[in-house]
Amino acid sequence: MLKYLYYFSSALFLLIMTIVLIIITYHLLHKRRTKIFKQKKEEWEKFLFQYLDDDLKLEEAAAEMNDSYFYLYDFLKPYLKNLKGNDFEKLKKLTKTNKMVDFFLQKLEKGNREEKIKAAAFLGKLGEKRALPLFKEYLNSNDKNLMTASIWAIADIGEQELFFEVLKTVLKESSFTFEALTEILIRFGEESCYQIKKFLENNFSEENNLEEILGVPDYQSLSLFFDIFGYFRFVPGVEIMVSTLDSEYNEEVLIHIFKALVKIEYPIAKDLTPYLNHNSWVVRSQTARYLAKIKNNDYLLELKKLLTDEKWWVRYYAALAIFKLGKEEVLIDIVKNKRPGYEMGIYILDQAGDLKVGEVESG
């Protein structure tokens, strides 16, 4: 028995030493890889700069930069990220001519998981439409990382036709935050707003089929759409948002409508009193914020009332709105007489740098 234990100990010891050897091997391999990459980088940099500056022809540059494609990808990444216009187009031409695009297209289809994701990032950045069919397929992948990479790639390419496909996929993926969803969708560019508008006109304005088509409660998709309108300051979208404004409506939607209106800065004809007095403090504060933006005089009384709202943000935006309307006398008056809401008055005036706190208090 003891004998076997000794054998086992020795075996374990050998295992340990093997791992140590692997560590050393990895170290040496890594060192070598780093050295090679550094050398290649120096060479490539020379050719790349000459090519970008028109001192080297495309074919010549491609001939010098046509191997070790994964290293080449790491090398080109910062340039792809930071350059635009003519130089970016040159990079695109280069990667086509030196067969790098073809290589990554192949990897996208047949590579291992890591390679597929790298390929997706690269091809997306380049706007390579040939990869779209594969990306569409990967939208349904079990691998969440690959799915995400495909989503970003499609968005980067800006393929409007796949907009709703991507939308449905991201909505299904329940862990995404709202912001992440919006972030993905806005990458399709302003063009998507027109698509959304048409979609809503067909499936919402008359008969509400949103939940059926998209698979999520309508307030979620509506909030998302209006957020996108807001991001692009999409004025044609205001009409739909206004017609959705109904104080019985889901407060999520209301909040996003006002947030969008704040960005679009478009005045609307609807009576805003019910929203200034809404149950949800977020609705109240966003409505006040909207009034601050469009400088509408009609709600001065309500705004004064809101100076004593229990929520800080409501008070803040109300005071800001009053200030922006040019009615700082109102605020000054309140502050001087230490009437309810004076702290916020002081805060706003202070922020604006108009009056020193001490000055106001002493009149």
Binding site: F49, L52, K84
Partner: protein
Amino acid sequence: MKEKKDKILIAEDDQSISRLIAYKFKKEDYEIKIIEEGDKVLEEINSDDYDALILDLMLPVLDGMQILKKIREENIKIPVLVLSAKSQEEDILQGLNAGADDYLTKPFRPDELLLRLKKILVD
């Protein structure tokens, strides 16, 4: 008599980009120095005579905005062109307010950078 070359300081921690810019500028007959860390920028400006500064806002150790403010506080007369990935409207306004003579967002066109540099050198 040889005309003095304009000396440009590039404060950028992404070597790929700084070297590309340096390459293009050298062809235009500028003298270039590259600094990668925020706190060294002020040292460098004070120790030598630079005609312009290309400043990335996201520098390690001391960030670009603080550098800009210090330059203006200490009344250093140097044209500053901000080159930054911070491309939101507020960022641009903030940068210009803090004393930048121009603000170019990333991704950028190197040729545009050159033109804008030439402009602030003249002014």
